[in-house]
Symmetry: C2
Subunit: 293 residues, 2 copies
């Protein structure tokens, strides 16, 4: 495994003291974060993870847009996106070349009491996902506990923001493992398909590709959006809509989409087999892996 690269972003958000430098490199093996940083003590911050294919950062604008949206939802200062983009590009350039890298960027509320956010970019070579794209994944549905409309009724629950408070997103993967599965599709308490803990859902049924409408407290998937563009260009019909959980039974194809894994076909859902739409799946992944921005 190659050596990861860490860049701290200095001039990171609006309304803060100007910084002499925009960003700087740091040692990822050294301790860098204070025990009072609110990311540590409260999971109070936001993040994004972009895929980097052959040195090209995928969907960077979409990730930056979502980062700014998450900041607004958490009442954080607005990130200076042009500085973040430059820091991300510099960190990727400082990493030794690889087929696929991940560029994770984080902004925390900073050390408690200071009101000054802390931010960094971490570029690393993650796991290979060829096997999942080829052979599919086993998934269970789990109740997310919230109604589908909770983002409208109760915005303080931060559904739709990509925060650092991801203990539940990790706990559901352990629950999936206990059930002999590898991943999860969240279902709302009133029975609608939402998203995975780190992915978006696309369903193929009756010749149409559907993904859950974005007003249901879920993240706008950057890879899902690119996949819809690709599928439309290939002549398929795509739609954002409410999807009932029982529609997943009898799917003609089902995928979890995320930045570096791309489109992982579901081969088993709650213990029952799901067909892998092989030709469609391979064509979709070939196109996703060939994106150059």
């Amino acid at each position: 495994m190659s050596t990861p690269v860490l860049f701290f972003v200095d001039d990171l958000a609006e309304g803060l003291e100007p910084s002499a430098q925009r960003f700087h490199q740091a040692d990822p093996t050294a301790a860098q974060i204070n025990v009072l940083d609110l990311s540590v003590t409260r999971g109070d911050g936001i993040f994004e993870t972009a895929g980097v294919q052959h040195g090209s950062i995928m969907a960077l604008d979409a990730h930056l847009t979502r980062f700014a949206h998450s900041a607004a939802m958490l009442d954080l200062p607005q990130p200076r996106l042009e500085v973040w983009a430059a820091a991300i590009r510099a960190a990727v350039a400082a990493h030794e070349p690889a087929d696929m890298l991940s560029a994770k960027f984080i902004m925390t509320r900073g050390i408690e009491g200071t009101g000054v956010p802390v931010g960094w970019v971490y570029v690393f070579e993650g796991d290979e996902h060829d096997h999942e794209r080829e052979h599919g994944i086993s998934v269970v549905t789990l109740d997310r506990g919230y109604r589908h409309d909770v983002a409208q009724t109760s915005p303080w629950l931060l559904q739709g923001a990509k925060t650092l408070s991801y203990a539940v997103n990790k706990a559901v993967l352990r629950e999936a493992a206990r059930r002999g599965a590898e991943d999860v599709i969240f279902v709302s308490s009133d029975g609608f398909v939402l998203e995975g803990p780190t992915s978006s859902v696309i369903l193929l049924r009756d010749g149409r590709f559907s993904t859950p409408a974005l007003d249901q407290g879920i993240l706008a998937g950057t890879t899902q959006a690119d996949a819809f563009t690709i599928l439309e260009a290939q002549g398929h019909t795509v739609e954002y809509r409410q999807i009932r959980a029982d529609e997943l039974v009898g799917a003609d194809g089902l995928w979890l989409l995320s930045s570096t894994r791309c489109a992982a076909p579901v081969r088993e859902l709650d213990g029952a087999p799901v067909p892998i739409a092989r030709e469609i799946s391979d064509a979709l992944n070939t196109a996703l892996l060939a994106r150059t921005k």
Copy 2:
């Protein structure tokens, strides 16, 4: 403000490599945490905050018990409670004397990929709470989004564990501030009183003191438990039960309880005045502040 004290716990959990030392002091002003620590990136860990009155740690056993319970809920290794207790006592002893201190202790899942938790104790002098105990606080009720029985139906949502994923607990305080209030009482999506973001609720109505039954996905309040012991000893009737949100209207007294604030009377709920049961409130706080363990 006095200088905080930081102790890392080395021999911190069952099933790990034995450590030559049990704990050691560190510099809280220096960076101590790696950017890959799962507390930073995922809010993946647990914590407790005990009050320390005149050098005596309040309800330490109850905090340690809850810490172990949270660890089990997150599938973390079981903390070695005797080591944690010794580290907490040592950190408190290393702090300069003060009327009231807070001892916060944290165990994270550690640096991603290592499987080795990281833990520490942080002792500090927090804010004064005399004004809140004397004059009361303004509170709003906010929907927690979950049904009251979610801990039974969906344990992977970690309700009832005290985790580091507290972004929502901070967001609701900002929502309260937008509504001109200082604190929050969470209500379940099906209309039952739950808890505050960092406190327990006690309601006085019809001569009885009630707190929400603990099987509703809430934390077992250490200060609330001591308060019930005190109230019973003073001849009052106390009960754990389901409390409907509409029962808060027309309360004869209402308190939020937490370790260092003790019993903060609510003087206003959702904009309507709530009587401060002055004699009861003062007697309760006097007793809570006089606890010697």
